[in-house]
Symmetry: C2
Subunit: 505 residues, 2 copies
Amino acid sequence: MTSDIHDTYARLRDHARTTSALAGIDALLGWDERCLLPIKAGEYRAEQMTLLAGMIHDRQTDRRLGDWLAKLADSPLAADPTSEMGTNIRQLRRQYEKKTKLPKSLVEELARASVRGQQIWQEARESDNFAHFKPALAQMIELKRQEADALGYAETRYDALLDDYEQGALTSHVARVLEQLREQLVPLVRAIADSTRRPDVTVLERKYPIDVQHSFGRDAATRIGFDFASGRLDVTAHPFCSTMGPFDVRLTTRYDERYFNSGFFGILHEAGHGLYEQGLPAEQYGLPAGEAISLGIHESQSRMWENLVGRSEAFWQHHYPLACTAFPEALFDVGLERFHFAINDVRPSPIRVEADEATYNLHILVRFELEQALINGDLPIDDLPAAWNEKYHVALGITPPNDADGVLQDIHWSAGLIGYFATYSLGNLYASQFFEQAADDVGPLDEQFAAGEYRPLLDWLRTKIHSQGQRFTAAELVKRVTGRPLDHAPLMRHLWGKFGPLYNL
Amino acid sequence: MTSDIHDTYARLRDHARTTSALAGIDALLGWDERCLLPIKAGEYRAEQMTLLAGMIHDRQTDRRLGDWLAKLADSPLAADPTSEMGTNIRQLRRQYEKKTKLPKSLVEELARASVRGQQIWQEARESDNFAHFKPALAQMIELKRQEADALGYAETRYDALLDDYEQGALTSHVARVLEQLREQLVPLVRAIADSTRRPDVTVLERKYPIDVQHSFGRDAATRIGFDFASGRLDVTAHPFCSTMGPFDVRLTTRYDERYFNSGFFGILHEAGHGLYEQGLPAEQYGLPAGEAISLGIHESQSRMWENLVGRSEAFWQHHYPLACTAFPEALFDVGLERFHFAINDVRPSPIRVEADEATYNLHILVRFELEQALINGDLPIDDLPAAWNEKYHVALGITPPNDADGVLQDIHWSAGLIGYFATYSLGNLYASQFFEQAADDVGPLDEQFAAGEYRPLLDWLRTKIHSQGQRFTAAELVKRVTGRPLDHAPLMRHLWGKFGPLYNL
């Protein structure tokens, strides 16, 4: 009997690992498409990826999985839900149930709508024509409602969509934390706007040769602990981090010869994602115990290395002299203090991806609220551009110059990624809360960074977060690691701690 | 009834195309492994490729294929064997029959022996220890015999192996042509050895900056017609050309800052392969009518562009001034004549991959004869190193300094590629015979090359060879295109025509 259960578990495990091997192949195809693919090869690559996606979906909804999981869920192997086996059984069951709740026709319709939606969105954005995008968006909203209804939800339809990216999170809880954050962010942003101090950002717009940016950024990623024997760094238009296997994590970035930040902080951000992936237990690769918990927790790692580490004064006490050696022409007359202020410029802008640490979450709040209104049917799509502009005016004091740089700026909705945006802010919140705890446990971090030492922080993250796989939900993990539920206070303390002195608030 | 047959054909076609899409994915995984893969990721990538290979094999031996093909083979659709449909039915049937003749256990044993054999071969080569490789080679020979017996053959077991790379070729025919070639090659090589003229090859060993080699080689590939909107050029240790889709053909090369030839002629060689792939009918991609005929015909294209075009004086009349602009330091005092002689240095060497146009085929003859003796059981493996050295002494007047640079120099046998070497010489022979015909049809080629015009030759190749897919066997194609069966004379005319004047013979 016990040996029978173990056989069943082995079958489940091998099945999941094979599916994951195909998903890793799919990741390679996608990475290649975004980094290297010859321009005429796009159509055939899409066919190949559709083929793989179908094979993966067939495996994920294989009825044998249901049989094995039913047998295992009540077995002693699942008795401890946070053991490796318990985690794998619980999470694979959850995935199987979600996947099998969706009718195949809806899955296919969503896939088609996503491909078509992204094309139309791109055209609409290029021609600044929201009306062109409207029918595709309306169809996507309708399909996502059907998806939510098929999946089921605790309180609101939006819960079902949020769950795809942040397992178990409730819209009402996320909304409460973000609302509290907003209440404290708006006065901070206003105080900064009223300050007479302003950094000289032109020092970041001098000439930074791209090959030097590449080696400087690669060195920094290595220094914070990214292992290039198990990874790469390449160039793409819209940077991301992707994993093809237990020892194959690929970072991407883009360089602007006339703007230091986009390449360097892009690398630190993606390296943060990459460190998480490289820190997951390799022997559980392809199983939930070896996979990241949620997009929010993933984003907490990227934001931590990009902002809490990479934009700190302590980090540049070590790196600024290296930067001066690498970019003597750009930095010869700047100095650490001016440089550090420049990379921490706060300035309301209409564009999310260019936003600073202080205003970023206000951009997210706009999207989080509009998404809910669209899904709940409280906002007719016709009114969306005006609602967008109104919210930007209230939150950031600015009105987007047009829809292309307003409501059409992000690809997410066109691709069906609704419920995704909130995870960016959750990432910022988790990051600060984890970081405060890490400072308590292995600090003083500032002194370590100033000495070029990142290992204590990384080891702490490895132990507390990376190595945990999906043993806990994001909410459980935060509580276990910091002793408290998610809270806006650590992020606000960080922002005031940094921008108070810089802007003389 | 007719519509039923057409439905069957459509099913066959779609099945084959899906298999081919997976093969293209496998090609991407292999290309990535050889060009980009992080060092620690090799083991997992091998697992992914084994998974895909199994899926592809299952599809290739899918019994439905047998049913469809049986129905189609006697149908009107196959009436004209050189029509697109006729070609696809005939060739898919041939593939299916070959694949299903091999027991699955043998396929798996061959795959394992190939992976293990390559590892052991590498160790043996590094430690110059043939005895370490011997058991693996003995096992491979035994498995290849079993493979030949399972497949069946016309005259000798070796025919069955040769057929894998050069469909329909008979060992006896190939042996006769190569024997005639040898009889004329040996006196040519001896005459060159006796000549008092010698090129100054040190001009090729000056400093050629790698980034300049890359752009210069890429430009040359573009100029001869390779389309980089449907392809790439990357760096690897052992160059190759690989196709991932109808508009995705990837060349690879390696650069040596201190040796011009390896990068540049490597690019021309792979671009020759790439031009063939890019010239196949895209609408038949994934089907035999859209695939290359044989390795020999493939090699004829690479050798033609590398040697008959790229090492001609006419080619450098156009390219030498460009080379002087690209590499002013290396070439300022050289001149076209010295440069052209240097890239056509003839010098017996123990290493095949470093061999020149005149001696290259003698290297192949050694391997071709030894392979047959091993497969036929005429040569005990214990006697192989001595037999190798003896043949090198007779053919090239040299004795390899050790087994690492002798019998252990090539990876082929360790990987089970037995019957493959002959296609290199067939490629040289086909190339010269095609080239003479092209000169008759669209010449004078020399004048065109000197003016930087390669389009007439490429268009001729596109029409006569590339666009034909697998309509004909290699032997049929040579006869159709040149009016004569394969013959050693065109290659010998080319070699005397080039080396006679250079070496004052």
